[in-house]
Symmetry: C2
Subunit: 365 residues, 2 copies
């Protein structure tokens, strides 16, 4: 298949971005703000870029209602980078040696545990492995330690399609959440968290930008082995520019933030995101062909995973989707099946188009 | 000043990129290769992106004549990130405890020493500090240790405008070189080096991509605290995709590599780079207004630094340059003065235009 116009891209990340943002970027990379140069060619120290950075910063603060005692950092290295950076920055807070608690709800938190183990004791305080990671671990089963510096969760497991319905209560221990795949997709109370972090390549920007939102009292405790580019204290004191930042990705994030404000902000996009998810889960719940394995109370609104009960039909399903202008639906290789990623830039019409194809495919099967 | 067409951008990085590459990218970010999506929106696992990655990889191997016993990695975190990653990956090779030698020729190698000190003994084997970093340290003064895992140099100091004229001989000790600001600007014999690394934001691509070229026998010695995204062995075994790579920057790098091949490759661009530098240094050497402080045998062809002897004229010089369509000429704040960065994408006409302005400014001064 070859397409000469934009189609519906359900890829899990890098992922679809708002068309109007891409169109403007297509101009700005050649000539930006009357500078006689493109946006990715100007110095990060220039007033033009610093204004762009400050606008992006203010817009994320506005959109997420980030309290004034938090810092927002624009870093590099993705979520897997922060899997190392977080224990480096925080584990020293534990009084009886470096230690943190992990709530394991899928492959991403498994990776987080493995990485954190390089820097201290990564305790698995709860896991849904016995439930094949089809749910978040029941809060009643969490065995939290008062000796841990923080509790790490993945708010939305992109591979499994498992999302926390609410922010869990962990008392006074700082809650650290990987929100790579649901940042800005729903309203959250930032003050309930110690640290929020996200790779930008799903809801915000091209790959390469990592956003870290950290409460000020958690800054300044980095271990001596922490690389400078990940030392939150140093980056917070230097506008995240102790190294050359990913200027183009920050520009793109800023444009996406403006776009999101025009859509009515996070509360408005959250309603649409719920509608999109409802449309797909609605098909799954009425189907005998498809199977949704994730427990209802843990269903992700960003990554809807499902299986064809007859897996020999997988290729035909994907081929028909592609013919109908829908790509990126193949599930992660580690779990198979299908996955429809419904990030902010996916319109409701895209989800409806997919639902229609799913029903039609089932009728003909 | 506001410009509605492209002008000459002498910024040190992020820096000017080839106009034809930017124009094509402006299209590709909306629709790429008939996929119905833009280049930064498709999965790094897609065949389209994997082909793009493989092409970029082959083209850098061809252009730099990289021997088959080297791996090329596309990472994140910039040169300052590798300042941490390199000691993490290599210092363990030293038999009597983690240790490496550093040849300090400016602010970048000073940063490298400070960062490496977190992971072992960072020995200053030579420094040109007493020469105000206006030259590379004389090879005869280098006090190399046989107990060091490697020798670290910065092939071109972007801030000072100090470049190694030749690859120094360090015997059997692996030579590690930061080539962030002169990668692909001149032919080098890769086999003389153990590791070459570069942030891409000067000669290659937008900020966010870090290229590491490492000899295979130097892979596999990472300390246990090495973050996964910087573990060369893991990244080499995973096409640099153990985390989501900076897909758009890799695409851009690949397009710049193709552009460079069309220009005749590195040997051809090196001749032009020499001409560009000669044009500016020629003005400096005949001037009583301007002063070139870098010693002749250490003059950078990428970053020509100079001073107006009467520094009260600085603002007037920059203003006239801007009026004539030339930006990015202000020197780094730590050293002051002026700096003309003449990376591959700066045409000879740009250097000639600057030389003309410099002469004209001197005539009128």
């Amino acid at each position: 298949m070859s397409f000469d116009k934009r189609i519906y891209n359900f890829a899990p990340g890098p992922a679809t971005l708002p068309e109007e943002v891409l169109k403007a970027a297509g101009q700005d990379i050649l000539l930006w703000q009357g500078l006689g140069a493109g946006v990715m060619e100007v110095s990060h120290r220039s007033s033009a870029f610093m204004n762009c950075y400050q606008d992006a910063l203010q817009n994320i603060i506005d959109l997420m209602k980030i309290p004034s005692n938090y810092k927002v950092l624009f870093l590099q290295g993705g979520g897997i980078g922060q899997n190392a950076a977080i224990p480096m920055n925080l584990m020293g807070l534990a009084k009886s040696g470096p230690q943190a608690d992990f709530i394991v709800s899928g492959v991403w938190t498994q990776k987080s545990v493995a990485e954190a183990s390089k820097y201290g004791l990564a305790r698995i305080a709860a896991t849904s492995k016995e439930q094949q990671f089809h749910c978040v671990p029941d809060r009643a089963t969490w065995d939290l330690s008062q000796d841990s510096a923080y509790v790490h969760i993945c708010a939305n497991e992109t591979v499994g399609g498992v999302e926390f319905a609410q922010t869990p209560d962990v008392g006074v221990i700082p809650l650290v959440a990987d929100i790579s795949s649901n940042i800005m997709s729903r309203e959250i109370n930032v003050s309930r968290y110690g640290v929020l972090f996200a790779g930008a390549q799903k809801n915000i920007a091209p790959a390469g930008l990592t956003i870290v939102i950290v409460r000020e009292d958690l800054i300044g405790h980095a271990a001596s082995i922490t690389p400078t580019i990940w030392d939150w204290k140093i980056q917070a004191a230097n506008d995240s520019m102790i190294n050359t930042p990913t200027t183009f990705a920050i520009y793109m994030a800023g444009e996406v933030f403006k776009w999101l404000k025009k859509q009515g902000g996070i509360s408005a996009i959250e309603k649409i995101n719920q509608q999109k998810a409802d449309v797909i889960y609605g098909v799954l719940d009425q189907s005998s062909l498809y199977e949704a394995r994730v427990h209802r109370d843990s269903r992700s609104r960003m990554n809807v995973t499902f299986y064809l009960r007859d897996e020999t039909l997988n290729e035909a399903f994907l081929a028909q989707a592609s013919q109908a202008g829908m790509i990126g639906l193949k599930g992660h290789k580690s779990v198979g099946g299908m996955r429809a990623s419904l990030y902010n830039a996916m319109p409701l019409a895209g989800a409806q188009c997919l639902a229609e194809l799913m029903r039609e495919f089932e009728r003909r099967a």
